[in-house]
Each structure stands twice: as C-alpha cells, then as structure tokens.
Amino acid sequence: MTKAASDTIAAPPRPSRLQPIKVPARLIVPCHSSDREQPAVIKIPGTVVRAGESLLEESRANTAASRAPVDGRIVGPAVAPIHRGLSMAAVEFEPLDPQAIKTPFQLTSHDLSHVDGMGPAELARRLQSLGIWADRWASPNLLAQLREPHKKPIDTILCNALDEDPAVPLQANVAADQPSAVIAGVRALAAACGAGRAMIALAYGAPAPAWEGLRQELGDSKVRLVPVVNEYPQAHPVLIVHELTGRHLRPGQLPTEQRVLLLDAAAAAAVGNALAANQPLLSAPLAVHDYLRRSTHFFIVPVGTRVRDVLEQMNVQTENVELRAGCPLREIVLTPDCVVSGAELTVAIVPAVSHVNPEPCIRCAWCVEGCPVRIRPASLLDAAQQEDLYMAGQFGLDACIECGICSYVCPSQLPLLGGIRMLRTLQAGSRSARNDVARPS
C-alpha cells in the first residue's frame, strides 16, 4: 500500500453492519474475463502470495487481475461456478492463516484529482488492474460499460443503492457502512467520464444509518441523493433508469447506450476504495436470507468464498433446501459450490423445489397486471409451447426483465418465467444460426 493511500485510511469509526466471517480453508478466486479464448496464466502452484498481490502471471487486456484476498498459497487453476449455468476460470487458493477477515476500512479524504479527465477506458484498465469487476442483475457489467466504444458520451452516473429484494437491505447496509467510499466512487466515475450529473438512488424505506451516512458525507457535493419507492423489481436497470432519467433502456443493453453509467452501492464502494486509496477488491458484502427460519444475515466475505463455507459457519444444512441468487422470484439457482465474487451478492435459502402439475391458464390476467414492463407473459407461454418467435416478439419478449412476478402471482402455477427463458434460448439459437448462414465459408 502506498503512503498516499495509507494517509486516506483510518480505523473504522463506526460499527460495521456487515459481519466478517472466518476465512475458509480453500478459496476459488474467479478471473473475470470478457475474452474466453485467451485464458489467464496463473502463477506457479505453491507460490506464496500476500493479500492484495496478483494471482496471475501476466495481465491480459480483458481479464480483471485476480488478487489474493488474504495471505496464502496458490494451489492451481480451477473453475468457479457463479450460478447454475455460469462458471468462470479461477485460481484455487489456500489461505495461510485462517482467521476472520478485517472489516472494511473507512475513507477519510476524497482526493480524486488524479482521475479528472482520465476517460472511461483508462478508468476501466485501472479498476481491472485492482481486480475490480461487478456484473449482477442490479449492476450491469461495470468494466464493459466503461470499455465499450461510446457512441454518445456518458452524462449520468447512477448509483443504484436500491436493494433487489427490499426485505434484504444489503446495498443500503453497504451505503451505511461505507458512505464515503460510495460517494468517492460516484464522484470518481463522474470526474473520469466527464458526466455532468451524478445520483445515488436510495429507497425511502432504507435503514436510517444509510440516509444519515450518505447525507453527512455528501455535504455540498454535486452528487444528488434521490429517494425512490423501492418495490420489487424497481432495482432493475431498465426500471431505475426509466424512473430517474425517463430513458428507455432495453433489457440486455448496457446502460451506457442510454448515456448512463449504472452501478450499485457495493460496486461504487469498491471503485471509491480503489481510486481514492488504491485498494484492490479483496472482500465482498454478502446477504443470506433464510426463508425457512425467516432470518437475514449480512456478511463481509473474502472474494472466492464458496457459499457452502458461509452456510456451514451459519450452521445451515444444504439438504432439502434450494439456494437462489438475488430475489428468489428470479429463479437463479445456486449450488453450494458457487463462489462469492463480483456477481450476485444475495443468497436466498428457500424450501426444496416441489413438482406440481400446473392448471390450464384461466386468463385471469394477473400476470399482465403485475408485469412491471407491461408485456403479456401468458401469451409468451403460448408462444413458447408453439416455439413461435414471431408471436413472442408481438407479445413483448424483448422487453421482459425476467423478474418472475408473473410466475409468482399465477393461480394456475404456470412456469411463465421458464417459458420466457426457453424463448430466449430459442431466440439466441436462431440468431446464431442466422449468423452462421451469413458468415462466408
């Protein structure tokens, strides 16, 4: 750590709302890469690395430099499951001294003059070198937002401190714990991208310390704190961008296509710590919401911790339960081996899946009334059954944000979200087939 950086760090002045866990015996640290054809080269197995040092032999252009979360020894290459159906190349890592990790430090000064006019691409390289990446439902791929060639300049930095599930206020707790880092991150991004507008969206119902912390730290800063009614799925980029800027972001598009750079509070805090204190991403906040015991736990865990290790420390058995990432309505299934990284930061423990025979659609239209993007999920299920992509397009497939409200409210218990995902798979298949035909042999 540089001297300049250490000047900006002080002991935590307030008790953390995130509980540190014991460092597990094995960590699987993912290497976030946008280039699958060029895998990262890791250091020789057995090499001892200090906390914060890179685990990779050389840095690739499109790979975030994975950093050792604690002092430890490299075991070898591995594969890190992120959620069912998605995995990343990773480094298996053995901590030398398993102990509780430190709580996040607090920034005391915001000297961000060095980022003025840096530009998004240079900023992306800087964050990447510190192992910082974020790619989750409420915070789209941060490095891609900064890296992609911008047709229009970014004019708004939007920090989405809304929680995906309002009952699990992880982002609000991060904002309460590290308000100065969150604000530093937003200011740094605004300065680097030349954005004239910077906002932090916080739920009306967020815990009071989040409001107080952010208000105190904001002072006369140009960053605006915007209260928002947070009803699921308001935290989705499509909805929050529409709510606060009136711009129409298509699902799957990066917000920068609408000149908005969007990130959540956890990502903003990581960016703030990186740019104001040169601090790499070594730990991540994690919320575990147990629907069986009706309890919620907030942790700070080393990057690369498996969900299984967290649950063991909570004394939660993984038999007869199902783990889901984010809000359980989205039906993103986790396995206990999934690792905590820059992806989803909320784990829901729900009862094990049962099988039901759905009733026929009774056309109650509750799915239509409940849909936040005003599409027709029941008709999309029809389209899925007929494998009719034209019909799916007519009924709004491209606008679906996969929030799962339709499946949740359906009295017939129809797999509406499953049908939509099936259509998306079909659509991707037909697009790739078209590209294959168009590509010259």
Partner: protein, 399 residues
C-alpha cells in the same frame, strides 16, 4: 389463443416461493362478491329464491360428475370453476321456479317448474365440457346456458313476484296476490301497504313495459302513450329497481347489491374496473342517442337524440335511460359476466373497445329486442370478437 397445459403433461418445475394462490382460491374469492346479490335474493325472494340457486348448483354438480369422466376435456372441469358459474346462472333465474305448481295462465295450466333450474345446471356442465373447461373457450357458458333455457322456456323466466316488506326473507314468493300496476307504481315497495297475511306481491315487471314501449309493440288503452306517461303511470318507482322490491332475477333484483358485489370483486383485484364502467357509460350515452318513440300511437315514429325534442326533454330522456339501466340485468352482466377471464380481452386497450361494444349493443338490443335478454346477447356477440381483439392489440411494453 389458449394455454393448454393439461394435467396429463409431465410435472413442471414450480416457481418458489409462490404466492400460494390456487385456481380454487381464485374462484373462491369470487364467491365473496356474490354474497351481496345472494343476500338481496334472500331478502326479496325468500327461500324460493335460494332454492333456485341450490337446484342449479345441484344440477351443475351432478352434470359435472358425469362429464368429468368423459375424455380429456372432462379432466379440465374444475369444481370451484363449475360452482362459480352455476352460482351465476342461479342468480340469473327468477325465484318462482322453485315450485311444483306454477300458475302460468291461471289455475287451468300449472307446471312443474323446479326441474328447470336443475336442468339448467346440467346444461351448464355440458356447455363447460363442450367449450373446453377451465380457462378455455371464448363464449361464456353461463350466457349460452341461460339463453338456451330462456329460448325454450321464455314464459317461465319472466319474473312475477316479490316478497312484501313485512315478510321479506321469510315469506313464500308464490303466496302472492296481484297488485295493479297503478298501485305498484304509485308508492315504493318499502312504503306500500299490504293486506294482513300477504306474503308476496305479484307485480308486472318493468322490463316488459319498457320493451313494449321502445319496440313499439305497446297497445296503449287510450291509443296514445308518451314517454312522460310511461314513466309516470307504467313503471315502478326507480328506487324499487335500485334498492330492491321489484320482481326480477334473484341476483339482479337489487342494483345496489350488484354494485356492492362488483366493488368487492374490484377490491380483491379480480376484475378490471374499466369494463363495467365503460359498459354502463356507453350504454347510457347510446340510450340517449339511439332512436326511441317519443309517443306510442297508431303511427309510432322513432327519433334520434330524443332529448333534443321539446316534447321529450332532458329530464324524461335521462329518466328513461336510468330505467333501462336498472330494469335490465346489465349491471349484473357488466360486473359478474363481462369481466370473466375467458371472454374479455387481455390487452387494456382492447378491453375498452370490448366494453364499449357491449354497451352500445346492449342499448340497441334493449330498445328493440328485449330488456331482460339484451345484455346477455350483447355479451355473447362481444365475446366472439375477443380472439380477434387479442390478436390486433399487442402490448405496448415500457421499453
């Protein structure tokens, strides 16, 4: 366009957590809305009114027990769905059917009318099977069953009596004495004097008088009948139709009860407010615009926008429209039938057109065909357009 996942398909992964709402509970919630018309039925038509409903339910249960065993369509018959529809059909029938000695044309011609509601329930079960059961079909089976029964036994379905205020809830609907139109039209039901021991009053229904006048089939005793005379002498006080106390279908005899029941359905999120609102508004406007006779005589002439004519005026035209609205079962149809999932379109914009069409068609049919049946025929016509409207009106997504 119908989602046809049947119970014979392999199990599908269930969404968890789910709201817990099932189809059975969904239709169970509808019964809360029907409690108000049911209560009004008990108050104004007594045990015979409730017996008619029970007979329809029994018939539907017996019919569905048989038809449930026949073919894959039989598996789509869901008991809560059938019972809800049977309840609706029961509410559409008059209370005097629950008897074995109905005097249709005096003592010389008595009929056993109690099998009719039982058969209506069975016919409903058959139509539910034919139209595809739960969620399927774009034609309301209740409407089809009612129109079939009405077409075959039209005289039996003309409401005849209402309990007196002293014997409401407890009286026998058939223990009635005729009340002259003049007496019935002079004072409202709750202020009318009745003979000691009289349990019910036999009153000519307002729907018949309205149909005769607007269709031009009225034969006035003095050879001439104006709108003002019709409203003053031939129709009951409006409050009898709004609050209750006039012969009618057991569930549609009290406009207030129907409206409160509909508001309950709205409150529970079961129906879309646009549909009843637009039906009633468009019908009201259409009743003012469409040609009506300003007076019935040997040479009756119909006039568009009758309220503009000095011999009619706003007051008489609006009052006539009000009578048309509350004397017909349009309120019951608008809240309880037109809002049913299978018959109304899914798209909000399409629902506006659907409801507007029903309103205009109801007004036209009421004026020139018959007040008692017009709303159901209009709904039948509109529901045939629903699949086309669902195709024309694709959703407008937020982004």
């Amino acid at each position: 366009m119908t989602t046809t996942i049947t119970s014979s398909r392999p199990p599908v992964l269930m969404s968890l957590p789910h709201s817990g709402m099932t189809v059975r509970e969904y239709y169970g919630m509808h019964f809360q809305g029907a409690l108000f018309p049911l209560t009004a039925a008990a108050v104004f038509y007594g045990w015979r009114g409730l017996t008619v409903i029970l007979l329809v339910l029994l018939g539907a249960w017996a019919g569905s027990t048989i038809w449930r065993r026949i073919g894959p369509r039989g598996q789509q018959l869901e008991s809560s769905h059938i019972m809800w529809f049977a309840l609706l059909l029961g509410l559409m029938l008059p209370g005097h059917l629950a008897t074995s000695r109905l005097d249709l044309y005096g003592d010389a011609y008595r009929v056993w009318s109690w099998p009719l509601p039982l058969a209506a329930g069975m016919v409903l079960a058959i139509f539910l099977w034919v139209l595809g059961g739960l969620g399927a079909g774009r034609i309301h089976p209740v409407v089809v069953a009612y129109l079939l029964v009405g077409g075959l036994f039209i005289n039996l379905l003309v409401p005849q009596s209402v309990l007196t205020k002293h014997r409401m809830l407890l009286g026998d609907l058939l223990s009635s004495r005729p009340v002259t139109a003049q007496a019935a039209n002079k004072e409202p039901w709750f202020a009318r004097n009745t003979l000691p021991g009289q349990e019910a009053e036999k009153v000519p229904p307002a729907s018949e008088a309205l149909t005769r006048y607007t269709s031009g089939s009225e034969k006035p005793p003095r050879g001439w009948l104006s709108i003002q005379s019709l409203l003053r002498d031939n129709l009951p006080p409006l409050e009898d139709l709004i609050v209750g106390g006039h012969p009618g279908p057991v569930g549609a005899g009290s406009a207030i009860a129907v409206i409160i029941g509909g508001l309950m359905l709205l409150y529970r999120g079961l129906i879309d407010f646009r549909i009843p609102l637009i039906i009633l508004l468009t019908e009201f406007v259409a009743l003012l615009v469409l040609p009506i006779p300003t007076a019935v005589s040997e040479r009756t002439t119909w006039h568009w926008l009758a309220f503009l004519r000095p011999d009619v005026g706003w007051a008489a035209a609006v009052t006539l429209a009000n009578y048309e609205l509350v004397a017909s079962p349009v309120l019951f149809m608008a809240f309880f039938l037109a809002t049913a999932g299978p018959v109304r379109p899914m798209a909000r914009r399409a629902r506006i057109i659907y409801a507007g069409f029903i309103g205009v068609a109801t007004a036209g049919l009421q004026l020139y065909m018959g007040v008692a049946f017009a709303p159901y025929v209009a709904l039948l016509l509109a529901s045939m357009l629903t699949p086309a409207m669902d195709r024309w009106f694709s959703p407008r997504p937020l982004v």
